[in-house]
Symmetry: C2
Subunit: 127 residues, 2 copies
């Protein structure tokens, strides 16, 4: 098996809780956007992620900041410029997230084929 985890039972609940937080489409898409472009402004980030509401992006960024994955910087300009970047911790998570993203990109056709086969089978009338 690929995943050889040696999980300390006392940590398991926390590991699970963090995984559940990260395993959220907006979180993954925001991390990926921040991984592609550093010191990115809110509006630009919203554009890159696509279809994310202002409220949801604010919430996602705040959680990422709380988890130590994103730094929010306010520049003393008029009006203040606010930008976001991954912390070194966030960058290391970015690599793991990339692994998933690259898997999807590599196997998108295989998944589409599987779906067609499955849906064709399901549509067959029962004998």
């Amino acid at each position: 098996m690929a995943c050889d985890l040696d999980c300390d039972p006392s940590k398991e609940a926390m590991v699970r809780e963090i995984l559940e937080r990260i395993a959220d489409k907006w979180t993954l898409l925001v991390i990926e956007a921040l991984d592609r472009e550093t010191d990115i402004r809110f509006s630009r980030l919203q554009e890159r992620v696509g279809n994310i509401s202002q409220k949801m992006l604010t919430k996602t960024l705040r959680q990422l900041e709380r988890d130590g994955l994103v730094t929010r910087r306010v520049h003393p300009t008029v009006p203040p410029r606010v930008d976001y970047r991954l912390t070194p911790l966030g960058e290391s998570l970015g690599e793991a997230v990339c692994g998933m993203w690259m898997w999807v990109e590599k196997h998108v056709e295989a998944v589409e084929d599987a779906r067609r086969t499955f849906d064709g089978r399901s549509e067959r009338p029962a004998a």
Copy 2:
């Protein structure tokens, strides 16, 4: 940057759709459980994942089967025995998922520290 994607724009919507499907806590937890133990029965899987309802596990497994990631086998016994395993495609996704899981395990303390700092800062009364 860690993630050097060379995404074909025509595939991007599909890549995103698959990532969103996978980026779901139950999906990730089920893949991880199947990655640890093969030919696993429904009830055992439910026990391993923990806190997942029968309905949600059924739905998650069906989606994974549709995506070509899981094989459902019915053995001709009385009563029929049904078990689940990852397909080779599912195993390769398992490795990517493991990368995220291991990241969490490795950095759980760092995330907890960041949260304590963030929450301490938020609790500080405004000047």
